[in-house]
């Protein structure tokens, strides 16, 4: 692995100014990813995992949102300060993104071929004919049968899995150095999900792309990522390698996420009667009204007075394993 990461976020802060107050959707978040590596960003809805990646691409609607601090370094270039013109060159070309809902992320009025070739014409300045040829190639790469026919098809004629494959084709047609995948398989069936994950893995090996994979499914994390960042209420609460995280989670929220999900291997054992799951009480707090100390304090069974009053620092609990918690969990 090369020493310098291809993308580095330092203390990134994104706020949303709403009528109810200021929501710190991204609150001093730092992470980095190297070429050829897969970083998983984990958390529930409202934890800021999507807003962080949208901030990287400067796709936050302003107003109400604004990047108010921190930096995003892409190959040493400061993305928060570059011109809009330069940002457009980077988007889709160097860094591209796959969105969660394949059906609503494609333009229903444009043919598949036009949508894919748009980026190619924009970034490479090639002719439409050449772009269509390349688009057909890309559709074949993502295993769409009858690629030539589908160039003239529309998104509504395709199934969810096919739309997602088109999204991937669009995202990788310019050979991006970084691919941000925001819950790319959440709307899909497990059999299709397995196909898409395998496809992404193959493409990564071929192109040495860095992948930032945003998900709430720990099963997917275990399967595809090398490192993982866990977010809660706009803050990073834990970061480590995937193996370390599953072997010994250090934040109560991560522990909660792991025990709240039923596991299939438990049912192989014996004729077990249904048992209760361990729940995390309550719900994710509203971002404009966070507790003074740790954001997880109201749902945490380890909470003390210190947790209520002071924000826990993000510190290295064991080599390479960071967490923001006052308590010593899982040691």
């Amino acid at each position: 692995m090369p020493d310098r990461p291809i993308l580095e976020l330092r203390d990134l802060q994104t706020n949303f100014y709403t009528r109810q107050g200021v929501a710190k959707a991204v609150d001093h978040v730092s992470y980095s990813v190297h070429a050829g590596e897969t970083l998983a960003v984990v958390g529930e809805s409202g934890c800021g995992k999507s807003v962080t990646s949208l901030s990287v691409l400067r796709l936050i609607p302003d107003p109400p949102g604004k990047i108010v601090g921190g930096s995003v370094l892409f190959e040493g270039e400061e993305l928060t300060e570059v011109s809009d013109q330069r940002m457009r060159e980077i988007r889709g070309n160097d860094i591209s993104m796959i969105f969660q809902e394949p059906m609503s992320s494609l333009n229903p009025m444009m043919t598949i071929g036009n949508q894919i070739s748009e980026a190619l014409i924009q970034h490479f300045g090639i002719s439409k004919k050449a772009a269509f040829q390349k688009a057909e190639e890309m559709l074949t790469v993502v295993h769409i049968p009858d690629a030539k026919k589908w160039l003239h098809g529309y998104p509504h004629e395709m199934s969810g899995g096919m739309c997602q494959r088109v999204m991937i084709a669009m995202a990788i047609c310019c050979n991006p150095k970084i691919l941000i995948a925001d819950e790319p398989t959440t709307a899909l069936d497990v059999t299709i999900q397995a196909q898409i994950l395998k496809l992404m893995e193959q493409l990564q090996q071929k192109l040495n792309t860095a992948i930032i994979f945003i998900t709430h499914d720990l099963g997917i994390v275990a399967e595809i990522a090398q490192r993982v960042v866990v977010m809660y209420a706009g803050r990073k609460v834990e970061e480590s390698t995937v193996r370390q995280l599953f072997a010994q989670p250090k934040h109560p929220y991560t522990v909660g996420l792991m025990t709240a999900v039923p596991r299939l291997e438990n049912f192989l054992e014996e004729e077990s009667a249904p048992s209760r799951l361990t729940e995390i009480p309550g719900a994710v707090p509203r971002l404009y009204n966070l507790p003074a100390g740790c954001a997880f304090v109201n749902r945490c069974s380890f909470a003390t007075d210190q947790c209520r009053q002071e924000k826990p620092p993000f510190e290295e609990k064991s080599p390479g394993h960071w967490a923001a918690c006052w308590q010593e969990i899982g040691s």
Binding site: A194, K198, A222, V261, R263, L264, L268, P274, R276
Partner: protein
């Protein structure tokens, strides 16, 4: 809460060869030009106090099956027996007393509650319609129900938009419970919820089952969730049940190639078993308008034989209590 004495032997719900076909009409003269074979010959039963899990990909017809049982969509043929009485052909008024026995909890808690009525009234309305309680008595019952499902009694006056997804699903469950049903059809009740909230709702379902002796038909695409809550599991593919067995048998020894593919497609939350080889199935589920002849899974099956392309496999009992529809088994 009074319950009538249950018949221990006969299953609570028995479905025989149920078919629900939706006609496709031409644009001009509305002539029927074909059918969508959404549910095509399903036979299942659910015992008292039992949870039957129903899994399958989107488009497999599992939601249509759930709605057909309630006759929210009219089945085309077959029998639906509730405690021995076939309700599939009853008139609306004769059907009415049976409705309170079977209730449904919907998938999307955001669109299944009327936004203009206080949530307490949504729940008490069903009581009034069925003549269980009205006025102050109904109000009191609703408040008790709200507390039972983990909400505050004072929240009955609020509107649906004031609740989070998990809370709304609790309201949906309270509404289903209001009539003191014997069977609840839960149609993907947790798939719209975050993992931490999902666990709360699954636990609530299980607690209520123990308390009231409820039976569930639990429909979901997430096998781990279904496995957790169910006693038996049925796997559905393109309108047909392909395998049905006790939970542990199904997971330990899946017989149908489709069940095997479904199981191996689920990511395991354990990085140490990463290198496991998986049997991926190619392609998408075919359209229920033109289901493949023979075995419906043959177009994606890795073990397909010539026989599978022409002959529809029948359900056979591979082991006691373990039924599978496959020529290979």
């Amino acid at each position: 809460m009074k319950t009538s004495t249950p018949q221990e032997e006969a299953p609570l719900l028995e479905i025989n060869n149920l078919k629900t076909h939706f006609p496709i009409r031409s644009k001009i003269f509305s002539r029927v030009t074909g059918y969508i074979y959404a549910v095509d010959g399903v036979t299942i039963h659910i015992n008292k106090g039992e949870t039957l899990g129903l899994v399958g990909e989107s488009g497999s017809g599992k939601s249509t099956l759930g709605k057909s049982i309630l006759r929210l969509v009219e089945p085309s043929s077959g029998e639906i027996k509730i405690q021995g009485t076939d309700i599939s052909k009853l008139s609306k008024s004769r059907m009415f007393p049976f409705r309170r026995n079977v209730q449904i909890v919907f998938q999307d808690p955001y669109s299944s509650l009327n936004p203009r009525i206080p949530v307490g009234k949504i729940v008490s309305e069903t009581m009034k319609v069925h003549g269980i309680a009205s006025g102050a008595e109904a109000e009191e019952k609703v408040q008790k129900l709200f507390e039972r499902v983990g909400l505050r009694a004072s929240q009955t006056l609020n509107y649906a938009n004031e609740f989070s997804g998990g809370q709304r699903q609790r309201i949906g469950i309270a509404r289903a419970l209001a009539l003191n049903p014997k069977l609840i059809i839960a149609d993907e009740p947790v798939s719209a919820l975050d993992v931490s909230v999902q666990a709360q709702i699954i636990n609530l379902f299980m607690d209520l089952q123990e308390e009231f002796g409820l039976s569930y038909l639990f429909i979901a695409h997430d096998l781990a969730v279904v496995a957790h809550i169910s006693h038996r599991i049925a796997v559905m593919y393109l309108g047909k049940i392909v395998e049905i067995a006790d939970k542990s048998k199904l997971f330990k020894n899946p017989q149908h190639p489709y069940t095997q593919a479904l199981l191996s497609a689920i990511p395991t939350p354990n990085p140490e078993v990463k290198a496991r080889s998986r049997e991926l199935i190619e392609g998408d589920i075919p359209s229920p308008r033109n289901p493949p002849p023979g075995c419906r899974f043959h177009s994606r099956c890795p073990k397909v034989l010539d026989q599978c392309r022409v002959e529809v496999p029948r359900m056979t009992e591979a082991q006691p209590g373990h039924w599978v529809a496959c020529h290979l088994c």
